[in-house]
C-alpha cells in the first residue's frame, strides 16, 4: 500500500473509531482467525467432518459490522458463518460443539459447520442453499415492519449468490415493499472456482443493486474504518427509512473454498500475493501500530486470549455428547404426527 494511501486509512480510523473500539475489532478479528484455524486443525484430526468453509481473509467484515447491530436484529448467513456467529454473541464453545456434532452445540449437532442457529442471539443460520436464505431475510424484515418493532434483518451472502433467481426476486420485492433489510454481499471474487467475471455479465455489483433502485455502496472489506462508516450509515438508513440497502464488501478468501478444494482455478502466486500483502489482520495491526493504538504485547495478549478461548471450546466440544437418536427424531413437526 502506498504511504499516502496508508495515511488516509489511518486518518479514517481516527475519524471512525475510538481506541477501545478499534482494539475490540482487532481482538475480534483475531478471535475469528483463531476459531477458523482451530476448526481447520480439528478437521484435519477428523473431529469436524462434512463441509468446512473458512473465513480467513474476510475477518474485518463480520468483526466490524455485526457489533453495530442491535442484539435482536436478525442475522441470516451462509455456510461460511462461524465468524458471524461468534460476532453475534454465540460462544466459541457452542459453535465448536456444533461442529463436533455434539448435542451441546447450538443446533444440537444436527447442523454442523454449515448450520449454526441460535435464536437467543437472533442468529438464523447457517444456510447452505446458495441464495435460499435471502427470501427468509426479507420475510423477517416484513414481520419486523408489520410489528413495528424497530428491528432490521441483515443478510450476508457471497457474490456467487447474485446469479441466482432468488437474488433478483428478493431485491425486487424488498424494494417494492420497502422492507428493512440490509444485504451484505461479501465479494471475494470467487464462487468455489468460478471467478466473478464468469458468473456475472455486469461485474459492478453496485450497478446491479441499483437496477432495483436499492441504495447501494461498496467498501473495501479490509478497511475497518470504511466498513464501519458505511455499515453504520446503512443500518441507520434501513432502520429509519424502512428500506433495503445493499452493501458490497470486497474481500479475498485466503484459503480454499472448503476442505475439499484443491484450488485448480487460481494460481498459487495469486494466493501468495494476497496472503503476503493483504492479510487483513496484518494490515490492520500495522495501521493501529502506526497510530500507536496497540503494541506487540497487547497483540500477543489478544492472541493468547483467543487461543485460550478456542482451546477451551475444543475441550468443551470434545467432552460433549451425541444427541440421542430418539430425540433427533423430534422437531420435524410440532405436536404428534
Amino acid at each position: 500500500m502506498a504511504s499516502k494511501e496508508r495515511t488516509t486509512v489511518e486518518q479514517k480510523i481516527k475519524e471512525q473509531l475510538s481506541v477501545e473500539e478499534a482494539k475490540q475489532i482487532l481482538f475480534d478479528m483475531i478471535r475469528i482467525r483463531e476459531l477458523e484455524e482451530a476448526s481447520a486443525q480439528q478437521y484435519s484430526e477428523g473431529k469436524i467432518r462434512g463441509f468446512l468453509h473458512l473465513y480467513i481473509g474476510e475477518e474485518p467484515i463480520a468483526a466490524t459490522i455485526l457489533p453495530l447491530l442491535k442484539p435482536q436484529d436478525q442475522f441470516f448467513g451462509t455456510y461460511r458463518e462461524h465468524a458471524h456467529a461468534l460476532m453475534k454473541g454465540i460462544t466459541a464453545r457452542s459453535i465448536m460443539a456444533e461442529m463436533f456434532g455434539k448435542v451441546e452445540g447450538c443446533s444440537k449437532g444436527r447442523g454442523g459447520s454449515m448450520h449454526i442457529f441460535d435464536l437467543s442471539k437472533s442468529f438464523y443460520g447457517g444456510n447452505a442453499i446458495v441464495a435460499g436464505h435471502l427470501p427468509l431475510a426479507i420475510g423477517m424484515a416484513l414481520a419486523n415492519k408489520m410489528q413495528k418493532n424497530d428491528l432490521i434483518s441483515i443478510c450476508f451472502f457471497g457474490e456467487g449468490a447474485i446469479a441466482e433467481g432468488e437474488f433478483h426476486e428478493s431485491m425486487n420485492m424488498a424494494k417494492l415493499w420497502k422492507l428493512p433489510v440490509l444485504f451484505v454481499c461479501e465479494n471475494n471474487y470467487y464462487a468455489m472456482g468460478t471467478a466473478l467475471e464468469r458468473s456475472e455479465s455486469q461485474t459492478n455489483l453496485i450497478e446491479k443493486a441499483k437496477s432495483y433502485k436499492v441504495e447501494a455502496k461498496r467498501v473495501n472489506g479490509r478497511n475497518v474504518a470504511e466498513i464501519k462508516e458505511a455499515a453504520k450509515q446503512a443500518i441507520d438508513f434501513v432502520r429509519s427509512e424502512q428500506q433495503p440497502y445493499f452493501l458490497e464488501a470486497q474481500t479475498y478468501r485466503l484459503v480454499a473454498h472448503s476442505m475439499f478444494d484443491s484450488q485448480q482455478y487460481r494460481s498459487k502466486e495469486e494466493v501468495e500475493y494476497w496472503k503476503k500483502h493483504h492479510d487483513p489482520i496484518a494490515e490492520y495491526i500495522h495501521q493501529l501500530k502506526c497510530l500507536g493504538w496497540v503494541n506487540s504485547n497487547e497483540i500477543k495478549e489478544m492472541q493468547d486470549k483467543a487461543k485460550t478461548e478456542m482451546d477451551d471450546a475444543i475441550s468443551y466440544a470434545q467432552a460433549g455428547t451425541t444427541e440421542d437418536f430418539q430425540s433427533c427424531m423430534q422437531d420435524v413437526l410440532i405436536g404428534e404426527y
Binding site: S107, K108, G111, P135, G139, L142, E166, S170, W177
Partner: protein, 326 residues
Amino acid sequence: MEKTTYRQALHDGLYDTLKSDPKTFLIGEDVGRYGGSYAVSKGMLQEFGEERIKDTPLSESVFTGLGIGAAMGGMHPIVEIMTCNFALLALDQITNNAGTLRHMSGGQITIPLVIRISTGAGRQLAAQHSHSWEGWFSHIPGIKIISPATVTDARYMLQAAVKDPNPVLLFEQAALYNMEGNLEDVREVDISKARVLKEGSDISFITYGASVYKCLEAAEELEKLKVSAEVIDLRSLRPLDMPTILTSVTKTHRALIVDEGWRSGSLSAEIAARISEECFYELDAPVLRVCSEEIPMPYAKELEQKSMPQTSSILQAAKESLHGGY
C-alpha cells in the same frame, strides 16, 4: 344446514381467519386487485387493506420464502400459489427451508405458515396447469398437507391450518370451486383425521379431493349390486391417518385407492405399501389403485377425462378386487 359453494366456503374461511387473527395476512399473485385467480379472495383487499392483502410480483420462489421468513418472525402468513404447477418454482423454499429449518436448527425455529395452492384437472387447462402434485409433495418431512373435499372442510380447514404451528400446505381442488354442498353445523374441523364419508363392509375406497365424489358415485352403483363400499376421505395427506385406513381395511378386507396423481410414485403407492405392510394378512385381494395416466395432461376434453380417474374406472377396479380379476 346451509347451502354454499366450495369457493364461497373457502372465501368465508379466509375472511374469518383474517378477521380473527391479526397476525395473518395474504400474499400471492393477484390475490388483491384481481380478487384471486379463482376469486377466493374477492373483496378481501377492500375489506382488509393493502397491509394485509398483498399482491406480489411473479416470484413464486421468493414470495413463498418471504412467507416462511415472516412466519419465523412471528406472523401467520397465508401464501397463495396459484396452482401446484407453478409451485415447483417454490419447492426449494418449501422443502429446504419450510420443511427443514426447525429440525436442522435443533428445534429452535417455528414456522406457522399456510400455503394455499389450487390443484387438479378437469378444466381443459392442459399440461402446464392441470396436475395434482399434492401427493408428490407429501414426500417432504416437516410439512403438513391437507385438502378439503367438502364445503365444510373448505370452510374450516384454513382456520385449523393457521392455528397449527407447522407449515401447512392446503390444496384447493380446482374442479370443486363451483360445487354446491351443505355446510355442516360445526365451528371447526380437526385436520389430523381422515373421515369415513360412507360406511361399508365389502371394500374400502380410499381417496381425497375431487375424486371423493366419483368414489361415492361408484359406491352408490355398487349398492345396486349389493356390494357395500366404504368411502374414506383422507383430508390429510401428510401425515396420513393410518388408524382410520387400517380399521376400514381390517373390516372390508379389500382396498382401492383413488388418486388423481400420476400413478407411479403417487400417494396411492404409499398407502398401498402401508396397507400391505400393516394388515397383509387381512387382505382378501391385492390393494388396487386408480390413478391418472402417466402423461402430461392433454387439453382435448375427451382425452383429459380419459386420463383421470372416473366413476367407471373406479367401478371396474372395484369389481376386479371383488371378483379377483387376476
